[in-house]
């Protein structure tokens, strides 16, 4: 057991470091679930209204691919929480994996783990502590969520099953994080790898939910497994064994890799590089491109795939809802074309949210370059502050633009190919994707402003993004006043294809984004570096 010596000390250290972060996330998740359930209970007082709402939901391909199917239309619990089942599991999984990486690879990369390892610390202690802290967090989230749902008035068994949906997804991805942390030398890359696995899992689940013929695809996805527990609709708790088994396998693999590698090393040995810089590496922008291009390639590839998948699902909308009532509903909503467009415009909104995440993390690079003391030597050369800031801001703005174009192009090509009108679909979907850009830029610009005004609070950019996300996804359930709903830039984006295009919000969002960036520049030029 010597390999585990010091684990408890590291667990306490991690809990001390995350004493604000972890409770905050637990509270956010519990409130999100309980609040959403409470609001829905008030919204659907009797079974008839519930079945009607559930049927409508199940016949909307946009909702089903985004959130999943309602397995039992009469179930109050499922109707209340279907938006949070798979989607919530995705968020819990993201938190769980990032927690593991934060306490393993990130510590190793910074050199802090080396300092600790020179003391009495077993080889497996850090990984074990990371997994324990992450596991503890998701178990706590699951339990407290279940208790709060029971408190709101939902069935006991179903509520615990729902908690298990989240916890099991979290545990499986704690395992994924534990493994990716062994593969790469950098924490950033480990999180990136995990995000790819998570994204693929979610897309597989979406494909599985989108039609009966492809239902088996859900079973290829850990998120799909958690969803298939079917809380409030059978409570198949046994299914949770699948993500748990995955956890065991991944953790065993992580320990095996850990045993074989040196501290600080990844699976791939770093190769020597060029002894002199390419002639093009002579400006801050060229350096920024070097720093961002790897992640941009990854995201670009993911967006292309996502676009292709979304476009493909859209073309199946026709055969989506089999029942007569659903077909009637489709006619009411504007026929097959109308519902395909409704689906595509929802998915373009999702692309917009995802691209914003790229924009935020690219803009946050400014701060991490500054705190890692890598900005200082550059700013001590002939590079002005504005030029240095511009280099990363341009990467964020152009990067998101590239992602959106690639995603829209993918969706246009694949939906056009299936529907036989590529010439029409490609420009329509490129336009639909492009109208997302002003909101994306605005959210990115908020990070730039924070970087200038309050650099220590710059990660609040993620909280703002989360708030906009929640307003958009749950604002109507919570019956928020329109003035609050208007705070989210995403709410002002024209809904294309199919909807009416209005230039006013697009222009305004762009102008505000530009103003925020200018304010970020002005304040950054006046403040201390460091």
């Amino acid at each position: 057991m010597n390999d585990f010596v010091g684990t408890s000390t590291l667990v306490r250290l991690a809990l001390r470091r995350d004493r604000v972060l972890i409770p905050l996330w637990v509270v956010v998740f519990v409130l999100m679930a309980a609040g959403s359930a409470q609001a829905s209970i008030d919204l659907y007082p009797d079974e008839k209204s519930r079945i009607e709402a559930a049927t409508t939901t199940n016949s909307s391909p946009a909702l089903v691919s985004l959130y999943g199917r309602i397995f039992d239309p009469s179930s109050l619990g499922e109707l209340s929480l279907f938006k949070l089942t798979a989607f919530g599991a995705l968020l819990v999984a993201l938190l769980a994996s990032m927690l593991v990486v934060r306490h393993t690879r990130a510590e190793e990369e910074s050199g802090r783990l080396e300092l600790l390892s020179a003391g009495v610390l077993g080889r497996y202690a850090a990984l074990t502590a990371g997994l324990l802290v992450s596991g503890l967090t998701v178990v706590l989230i699951g339990l407290l969520t279940a208790v709060s749902l029971i408190g709101v008035g939902l069935p006991v068994a179903g509520s615990f099953a729902f908690g298990l949906v989240w916890t099991s997804a979290g545990l499986a991805f704690a395992g994924v994080g534990g493994l990716t942390a062994q593969l790469t030398e950098g924490a950033r890359a480990a999180n990136g790898l995990t995000a790819i696995v998570l994204g693929v899992s979610y897309v597989l689940r979406a494909i599985g939910d989108s039609s009966d013929g492809t239902a088996w695809v859900s079973w290829l996805s850990p998120i799909g497994w958690s969803q298939q527990i079917r809380a409030y609709a059978g409570d198949r708790v046994v299914v949770a064994l699948a993500p748990l088994a995955l956890l065991v396998v991944l953790v065993a693999a992580a320990y095996a890799l850990l045993r074989r590698r040196d501290i600080g090393a990844g699976l791939v040995r770093p190769r020597p590089g060029p002894a002199t810089a390419a002639a093009s590496l002579r400006s801050p922008l060229a350096l920024a491109w070097r720093l961002h291009r790897g992640s941009l390639y990854g995201w670009g590839f993911a967006f292309l795939l996502l676009g292709l998948v979304v476009g493909n699902i859209a073309s199946n909308v026709d055969g989506f809802a089999g029942s007569e009532s659903a077909k009637e509903l489709i006619q009411k909503l504007g026929g097959v074309d109308g519902i395909t467009d409704a689906f595509l415009s929802t998915e373009m909104g999702v692309l917009g949210l995802l691209a914003s995440a790229f924009g935020i993390q690219a803009a946050l690079r400014l701060r991490s370059e500054e705190t890692a003391l890598r900005a200082e030597p550059l700013l001590a050369t002939g590079v002005t502050r504005s030029r240095w800031l511009s280099s990363h801001v341009l990467m964020a703005l152009l990067g998101t633009t590239l992602l959106i174009v690639v995603g829209g192009l993918g969706a246009g090509i694949s939906s056009g190919a299936e529907l036989g009108n590529t010439g029409r679909q490609v420009p329509r979907l490129l336009a639909a994707a492009a109208v997302q850009l002003p909101a994306i830029w605005l959210v990115t610009a908020l990070v730039v402003l924070l970087f200038g005004v309050a650099p220590k609070l710059v990660t609040a950019g993620w909280f703002l993004f989360g708030a906009f996300l929640l307003i958009g996804q749950f604002g109507s359930i919570f019956d928020l006043p329109q003035s609050v709903m208007n705070l989210s830039p995403y709410g002002h984006t024209p809904r294309l294809p199919g909807g009416d295009f209005s230039a006013t919000p697009v222009v305004w969002l762009t102008v505000i984004a530009a103003a925020l960036i200018v304010a970020g520049y002005t304040t950054f030029r006046r403040r201390d570096i460091g």
Binding site: G186, P272, L281, R282, L373, P377, L379, A380
Partner: protein, 304 residues
Amino acid sequence: MTSAIVVSGLHKSYGVTHALDGLDLEVATGEVHGFLGPNGAGKSTTIRVLLGLLRGDSGDVSLLGGDPWHDAAQLHRRLAYVPGDVNLWPNLTGGEVIDLLGRLRGGLDPKKRDELLRRFDLDPTKKGRTYSKGNRQKVALVAALASDVELLILDEPTSGLDPLMEEVFRQCIEEERHRDRTVLLSSHILSEVEALCDRISIIRKGKVVETGTLADLRHLTRTSVQAELASSPNGLAKLPGVHGLEVEGHRVRCEVDTAQLDGLMKQLAASGIKNLVAQPPTLEELFLRHYEDDTAEPALVDAR
């Protein structure tokens, strides 16, 4: 003689901590100036103000005839900076970083670059994250020394270097002196400063407490004297400037203010000197004298 750096009455505080408390500093063009002080005395803060990375709260700062806050980028083309903590981009090689920094300063001499790489025994093909602290520092040093600039600002440049490399560094600075480049060398390694610097400023709690050539500073301090005399000495205790006098039979041990050395010698000679050892003050003693009272006050100003 013109001055490359003139700082007067510079104040800088972070919240409640006063990192710089009315600092004055003058570095003449063409000299190697030692900037001496322990950790947290305000050396790095001063340098960051000189580079326009921080803005002083009050006081005047002039660098190469310009204002480092307003004309930062133009001035930076004429200087090279080696930070105390060198962090490199994990996926760029050392060679790429050297070239990049050199180009952003306005060019570097490829011959000099190769020569320095050889002298510092640095492999430029390794990725940033695989370098040790010392090697990261060498990357920054090579980039700075190979640049064609008037002023070198070096913040504890040898803190990660081994003794062999420290020697190479000293040779390089000697060569820079002969090229009439101005060097501001911040350090807490006294022997390095003693060996390299024309003039020295000692900083303490955000203020420069002593400045001048090593000879000037020595003049202000005490020489330690040990003597064996022919007969018992007398009258030593009454002499001005004599401290810590110990008399043991015919042996005498004391410290004397260097300005009063002559008086002591005359008095000793009167008793007949059989053996005499006089040690000039080392920089270490000089330094300790300024910091003596700090040992009782453990909390130095935390100047980041």
